[in-house]
Subunit: 282 residues, 2 copies
């Protein structure tokens, strides 16, 4: 861990019992001593570490190790989910990444239980899976706009906990991250999408409409985190008004998980001397 | 295009009529004036261009442009397919990449036509799809080891051409790349996998066994290229004994395709003035 980290984000950003979203300052940089420039150094060093660890994880997966990671990214529009995918996940080997972006469910998906489409995207052994949005939309936007009956929303918290506990039992570390921005920062980011022709395509008029439901979204996040931040699969709430901080924090969370795996290179599954002789003669 | 390129690989590496694989020197660097260090500069510059163009392609895809690219990577074991994925494809935004590595078909896949599993992996509009191995295995390893009757292998060349022509008709540029290495270079690369503990997992005893069929593989590649290098979906044969050259060549082929698309940022699909007012009030 880079020395600019004074407290590991897995400690400082964890949503434990009594967690209150309203107490998190989106512009803060908890546990980190340094500025944006320090952050750039930390990101580069962390990227090298992540790629190195990812290679071992992948290699072990090929050889039968069941472990894998599932990074779940949630956050309001413009909170930096895509940027995290690009600048944290995107520095690694694509072969070891299983990225899935969940959009509004299709009519076909809606005919199934809300977990059906996510269960099919659970990463294979050795992989780092990434959900850009996830089954949490089913207790966030769906709760805010009452797209499902209250009893069904209520049912989902328990269903999510059971689903995720099952993943953990199978060797999948579930890393749930909320990128937490302020409404003021969101406004600046949306403004940029209206100012820059290379950003127009990212803008959707509904983004402004949704701003009218800010408090309802915060409330839904609070409830979701309270109900689903379990010992097996805790939530981490990452202050995200400063993009550079959010990126190094998510990267550090990933690196920390992989460090915890204590990943050795797999031993050869063949006899080295025999194979060296065979190759020589070939 | 970087000035070190004297002839665009889309010209110098294209397998046209009368193409002879045996005439391609795997250690050559056709059309390129420069050494490994020049290659590193070219790779960095090309990566920036590729990411910039990819973003436009993706944005246009969101807005309804049907165009996309499918890069098909083939080559003998150790020819550098994974490295190309890492160092060429892996420098871009993961959200715009649809990577699929095809392994030996499962029993379930074998119950279907050989094109069934690849057809399901055709990239969506705006994406750069990458096949690490592909339906060509069905006329390569399957031909070498007579895993299908001769008449079925024969049928497949035509089936591939029809399938790929259909892709092209739907706006998919099919970029077929063979990474061409020498048996001597392969021996060195396999040796490395037996020398380095971080490479053991990449070694498979069957790799040496397959070396015994080198000529049969070359013959199968020659036939496959002759039969399926069409005007709509030509093959490019990339000398790959020098990894640095193979990478910049594939990158240049991709960049060239995207340059040819003449990708403008999409126009806003909403009224800018209205949205600026709405955002301000929000």
């Amino acid at each position: 861990m880079h020395k600019a980290w004074k407290v590991d984000p897995s400690v400082s950003l964890k949503a434990g019992s009594g967690f209150k979203l309203a107490d998190v300052d989106p512009s803060s940089t908890p546990g980190f001593k340094g500025d944006k420039q320090t952050g750039a150094d930390v990101l580069a060093a962390g990227a090298a570490q992540l790629t190195a660890l990812q290679q071992r994880l992948y290699a072990r997966g090929v050889e039968g190790d069941e472990r894998r990671v599932l990074l779940i990214l949630q956050g309001m529009d413009t909170s930096g989910k895509d940027g995290t995918v690009r600048h944290v996940v995107g520095t690694t080997h694509p072969e070891g990444i299983a990225l899935k972006s969940f959009k509004a469910p299709t009519p076909w998906e809606r005919r199934h239980d809300f977990l059906w489409r996510v269960a099919r995207q659970v990463p294979a052994p050795g992989m780092i899976g990434v959900f850009n949005r996830s089954h949490y939309e089913d207790v966030l936007i769906q709760r805010v706009h009452q797209m499902a009956p209250a009893a069904e929303i209520e049912r989902r918290y328990g269903a999510i906990n059971e689903f995720e506990a099952g993943l953990v039992d199978r060797g999948i570390t579930v890393l749930k991250v909320m990128l937490h921005i302020s409404p003021e920062e969101q406004k600046l980011r949306l403004q940029e999408r209206l100012d820059r022709p290379d950003k127009f395509w990212k803008y959707n008029p509904s983004d402004v409409t949704e701003r009218g439901f800010w408090n309802e979204y915060q409330e839904s996040y609070q409830i979701a985190i309270t109900r689903t931040s379990t010992e097996a699969a805790p939530w981490y709430v990452v202050p995200a008004d400063r993009k550079w901080f959010a990126r190094i924090a998510v990267q550090r969370l990933l690196d920390g998980v992989l460090e915890g795996f204590d990943l050795k290179w797999p031993l050869p599954s063949f006899d080295l001397a025999t194979e060296r002789k065979r190759l020589k003669k070939s």
